[in-house]
Assembly symmetry: C2
């Protein structure tokens, strides 16, 4: 049994071989992964069943058991996800902005891998493959630290990744799996071998990792997303967008949580949208002014404005003007996704300029803040931290760039 | 007297006004700064003299006193630096990669400020203006924490920055000065208000900040820069580059520290380059093979290979081939700057691909790793950390991007 330090060092030593692998070689590894997922489906299900049995014995909640569960259909989905990553362009090796400087040197920026990425995640075993495939395509070695409740599933999947690497004559240790919670703190100290930590899971996990890491962390905190209905809004459009943003998939981070309505249109808009949303099972919680328009609405508490419901619940506030809407977002927002519905050119421009969230939208559903919708392809998460990557993180966000300088004997004067 | 928390919050609240300021308004602030530097030179020198007197009384070293010292010429230089930043393009607000997605939304990436940047630096008071001007042009508020030995100078310069902001009707608190060492730990905990910490100074300072910060840190560690002379090198070119890289300005991070020589050319190259470098006052320390070519050369210790001399000292090693050179760089390098001299196309390509340093060069002096030489304009430092920015950090590296989405009532299917 190797120590965490040794395993991280092994990953670091394996990584240069990925960096030098051709696009074809990396895609061959991914093709192997997709093939092995299909071939090994029966044995993967057996390993997964061990985790499910243990979860049942431990009395874990139905939601956790559901997140843990693999079946043939889910494995096929995971395999399809890998094939989508094969189809994406190789993010490594391209040189951009190549130009000749006054000194005569030619200077460009070459995309390179970050190095070694540690993913710390909770119960979903599919993260092993999703994150593994994205890291390998971007030539990063990856340390996977999964939840102990998925330990048999994670081990089978991580072994599959190493087998795929070996089949293409790349080092098995470019993928390393850690299984013990006690290993997390040691992992977070390996700043000499690990370049980036990405925690995926609840707010508690992310805060713990951030507070204990000596390695840079990209955070994916909650999404308390806002939609502001301006006084100039096309109210039919506003209604369509609000319904979509709240109900199309309420359990995800880019779903709408708070609706802000300009007071000039509240009387007309609020009763109508309330009726529509309630018909779809949404519970509304409103400010005092909202409740004067819709008296049977529950009152929103201070707590509500901070809450990511991830459920069919919506908080509603009537605001005096766009300034008050922006102030509300500044106070309660999570830098994730905000949208305005307006027909006014200047308001649209000002809203986009003033809101510092990772995605700011005009006349569109917050549900569009997603790597695949925005054109990045598969994503490893949506960063709410401003350093390195802000918003959806795809293959390119798992890279950095170095300067390349082509000279002809040039020296500094 | 406000607390550190209050001062950081004040900077955070001041920052949106910078984000909304026009290019003209920001340049007007910088013009004010340059003007005030000239106008206030006499009073700045009086304040600086207080620091110099205290340094003398405290028995600080001549090198520290020299770094502390301002004079009319240095102030004019600082002012000129500000004027160069005025001439650079505004890094904020541009939208790139705007494209229409299959859903019909138009998606682009808009450059935005990071927010609040904390600079923690040692004795040079010019950092107040250099860093202040770069942060303000990139619409970031800045917390400046200088060394206590420069407290009078720093206060006078930070006040000047706030005065320039006020003259253009921007908030004074977009620049905040901290003066006490005891405030550093509290500053490093303000992750809710401060977005990035940049320590500038010795390795001890950088390590301390990295190990104690809850906020992302961009590190600027040492530069142990290497030059590899390949067997196919044009030796006249190799000699010119080695001399320039070592002697043109030995006290800076992109100066050459270790010369690696392919053994096939060691016999011809080593005695000649030794003679040239010694004539320029350089002391050489070599491996065993080097010393068999040049017997009166001192022996290099293990320590030497790790050392950034910042002085007229050079370590020299003869290597069997490029693989051994790359292995040496992997072991002892600092991810800063490495260069190869070669006439071989494939070697050049392979060296550039395999070396993961922030700048990799072919047939050029390591001294070119500098923001202004590479086309970035003024720089705030050279990052040796791979996250967010790697290599010279100019105005663009003080920004991040958010996604902007322009729709026409689009919803997710």
């Amino acid at each position: 049994m190797s120590t965490v330090e040794e395993l991280c060092l092994a990953a670091r030593k394996a990584q240069p071989a990925l960096a030098m692998a051709s696009t074809g070689q990396k895609n061959a590894v991914l093709t192997q992964i997709a093939t092995l997922l299909r071939e090994r489906t029966p044995s993967l299900l057996i390993e997964n069943q061990k985790d499910l049995d243990a979860a049942k014995d431990a009395g874990l909640s139905g939601a956790i058991v559901d997140r843990l569960r693999l079946n043939a259909d889910r494995i096929a989905q995971i395999s399809k996800g890998v094939e989508e990553i094969i189809a994406l362009p190789d993010p490594i090796g391209g040189i951009s902005q190549l130009e000749t400087r006054p000194s005569g040197i030619r200077v460009g920026r070459m995309r390179i891998p970050l190095g070694v990425i540690a993913m710390i995640f909770e119960s979903r075993p599919n993260v092993v493959i999703d994150a593994g495939a994205l890291c390998l395509k971007s030539a990063n070695a990856v340390i996977l630290k999964g939840g102990k409740e998925a330990k048999h599933s994670n081990l089978a999947l991580a072994t599959l990744l190493s087998d795929a690497l070996e089949a293409e004559e790349l080092p098995r240790k470019a993928v390393v799996l850690l299984q013990e919670r006690s290993e997390v703190n040691t992992l977070l100290e390996q700043a000499n071998t690990v370049d980036l930590v990405i925690p995926r899971g609840g707010e508690g996990l992310i805060r713990y990792v951030t507070n204990n890491s000596r390695i840079p962390v990209v955070q994916h905190y909650k999404g308390v997303c806002h939609l502001f209905i301006d006084e100039s809004a096309d109210l039919a459009m506003a209604s369509r967008i609000a319904v979509n943003a709240k109900t199309q998939r309420p359990g995800v981070c880019n779903a709408l949580e708070t609706l802000l309505i300009h007071e000039a249109v509240a009387e007309e808009f609020l009763p109508a949208i309330t009726k529509k949303l309630r018909a779809l099972g949404v519970v509304l919680r409103g400010c005092e002014k909202s409740r004067s328009e819709v008296p049977d609405m529950d009152a929103a508490s201070e707590e509500d404005w901070h809450t990511e419901y991830l459920d069919l619940i919506l908080s509603v506030r009537v605001v005096e003007d766009m300034n008050q809407a922006i102030q509300h977002i500044d106070t309660y927002g999570s830098d994730h996704t905000e949208s305005i519905v307006t027909t006014n050119y200047q308001r649209a421009h000002e809203f986009v300029a003033r809101i510092p969230s990772s995605a700011v939208m005009v006349n569109a559903s917050t549900r569009f803040n997603d790597g695949s919708q925005l054109g990045l392809g598969a994503e490893i998460g949506i960063s709410t931290s401003r350093l390195h990557a802000f918003g959806p993180m795809g293959l390119n966000e798992l890279t950095t760039s170095k300067f390349v300088i082509y000279g002809d004997g040039n020296v500094r004067k």
